[in-house]
């Protein structure tokens, strides 16, 4: 059981700016994620959401500013097993890749450096435990490319969970997945956040489908337009602007 500490800062983004070949993508972003948060990063296409997430996990280096992970500067951070990351279009992997569901998880579990070395039996138990959490324990032996998009996405969540991360960062995880599967997926994230106290950062353009699970919102349009509590966000002018501005931030299905 992780010690409950609402004030613990897991990610801090400090004055971060980024540009692609001179074209600014992010301007002076300041943002923090605390333990137990379920933060949605929203914004229109090209607003820098993916860029910000990639900077948070060290895939991109900010032109200005710094990122802190678990109180350490990102450059010095070593405990990467604490971080689970699922990139955009993660299920668009090579369809000819021969790999079973269990192998997808085992490859990551055996690769990630952890303080204590895990034995073969323990690895198996962890794989099955993670698959159980996402409701796919019967699919362990199946080829990954025989699963539906929604199931594949769950396998990737299981892969991230197996290393027992303290924070999960996801970039548009449900692109190309049918609507009922999307709802199931976000219910699972909500459950992980509430029951397991897993901190979650989610980049999405469809705020409507996630808004009953998130507790914090960061609204991005190169600059950070809003950053705060979800409940306050819904009453803010910014929310109404977005609602009427045709930004497609809000799902029209509700």
């Amino acid at each position: 059981m992780i010690m409950e500490d609402k004030t613990e800062e897991i990610i801090r983004v400090e004055g971060v700016s980024f540009a692609y070949d001179g074209v600014p993508a992010l301007v002076d972003i300041n943002l923090s994620v605390h333990r137990g948060d379920f933060l949605a990063i929203i914004g229109p296409n090209g607003s820098g959401k993916t860029t910000l997430l990639k900077i948070m996990v060290g895939l991109l280096k900010p032109k200005q500013g710094r990122v802190w992970l678990f109180g350490q500067p990102l450059e010095a951070f070593k405990h990467w097993h604490k971080i689970g990351y699922i990139q955009q279009k993660a299920t668009n992997f090579d369809p000819i890749f021969p790999i079973s569901v269990a192998e997808v998880i085992a490859a990551s579990l055996n690769s990630v450096s952890r303080p204590v070395k895990t034995g073969r039996r323990q690895v198996k138990n962890k794989i099955m435990g993670a698959l159980q959490t996402v409701g796919l324990e019967t699919e362990a032996g199946k080829p990954m490319n025989s699963l539906s998009g929604g199931q594949q996405q769950r396998v990737l969540i299981a892969r991230a969970l197996a290393t027992e991360p303290e924070i999960l960062l996801l970039d548009e995880p449900t692109t190309g997945i049918d609507y009922p599967s999307q709802e199931n997926f976000y219910d699972l994230l909500g459950k992980l956040n509430k029951q397991e106290r897993l901190t979650i950062v989610l980049v999405t353009h469809d705020y409507g489908i996630v808004n009953r699970h998130v507790n914090r919102v960061a609204c991005l349009n190169q600059k950070l337009v809003y950053h705060g509590e979800h409940s306050e966000f819904c009453q803010s002018d910014r929310f109404r602007e977005l609602l009427h501005g045709g930004h497609h931030l809000i799902s029209h299905r509700h």
């Binding site: 993660a90 080829p143 290393t163």
Partner: protein, 265 residues
């Protein structure tokens, strides 16, 4: 077939060296094909040619020269791919033409390469010397161990590079490992199937295995098995029917690919 011939040192040596090569090619090939790096082995075989020509020109062990030249070439390809922002296989084309040009130049200096050079171009496994068998087995052990000891990391990186990067894996080290093992496998294949056909061995058995395998373990096993079947079968066919071994090996590998492809359907 004459029993004496089967157990002759010549034949046994060929089988031993061939078996080592088969295992290395079978395992490595799966990664090369899935990483879309099949052409790296093609490029490196041309670089190895420069090493052979250098060794022959200096009358020193061509295999040793090719190992060194090939290892340097493999790291250069990797560096060029990353640093020069060259798209796709352009870096490989640069290096392989450079290697070939160097080989042609060296050959023009010393003109009487003759049969020796042919043995490296097309392979001559039935004439392999005991010392070369030891070297082949040594290289095979290094490549096989390199892959098996890093298996999970290599699978993770090949399947999902971005997630592997975020998990803190040193991907630069793993990229170098793979490309250096490719270089060693190419050199290992020099005397067996020759420079011109060694790419086939690193690619065809893996491509066949991918037609059938449902998981990664199967892919590695089936690829190694097909590789073994092609090389050992090819050597036997060559021995019995007096054919060029390299051609027999590649024909057999291609036949297995066609059968696997038909079986998949």
């Amino acid at each position: 077939m004459n029993g004496d011939l089967i157990f002759s040192g010549l034949f046994l040596r060929a089988l031993l060296a061939g078996g080592g090569l088969a295992l290395a090619c079978g395992l490595l090939g799966v990664f090369l094909v899935l990483r879309r790096d099949a052409m790296i082995s093609h490029g490196l075989s041309h670089v190895a040619f420069a090493g052979v020509a250098l060794g022959l020109a200096l009358n020193l062990m061509p295999v040793i020269f090719s190992i060194v030249v090939c290892l340097v070439g493999s790291l250069l390809i990797l560096k060029l791919k990353q640093a020069a922002r060259l798209p796709g296989d352009t870096a490989i084309a640069l290096l392989s033409s450079g290697g070939l040009a160097l080989a042609v130049f060296l050959m023009s200096i010393k003109k009487d390469f003759g049969a020796e050079l042919m043995a490296y171009l097309f392979g001559d496994i039935l004439a392999i010397a005991p010392s070369e068998v030891y070297l082949a087995l040594g290289l095979a052990v290094v490549v096989t161990a390199g892959i098996l000891l890093n298996l999970s990391r290599l699978v993770f990186m090949t399947f999902d590079r971005e997630a592997a990067l975020v998990s803190g894996l040193g991907l630069g080290r793993l990229d170098r490992l793979l490309v250096m093992m490719t270089a060693m496998t190419i050199v290992l294949g020099l005397r067996i199937v020759g420079l011109l056909l060694v790419t086939g061995l690193t690619v065809i058995p893996a491509a066949s295995a991918l037609q059938l395998a449902r998981n990664f373990k199967q892919a590695l096993l089936v690829s190694s098995l097909f590789s073994l079947l092609s090389i050992l079968g090819g050597i036997v066919l060559a021995y019995v029917f007096n054919l060029p071994a390299s051609a027999a090996i590649i024909f057999l590998a291609l036949l297995i690919f066609i059968l696997s492809h038909l079986l998949k359907r």
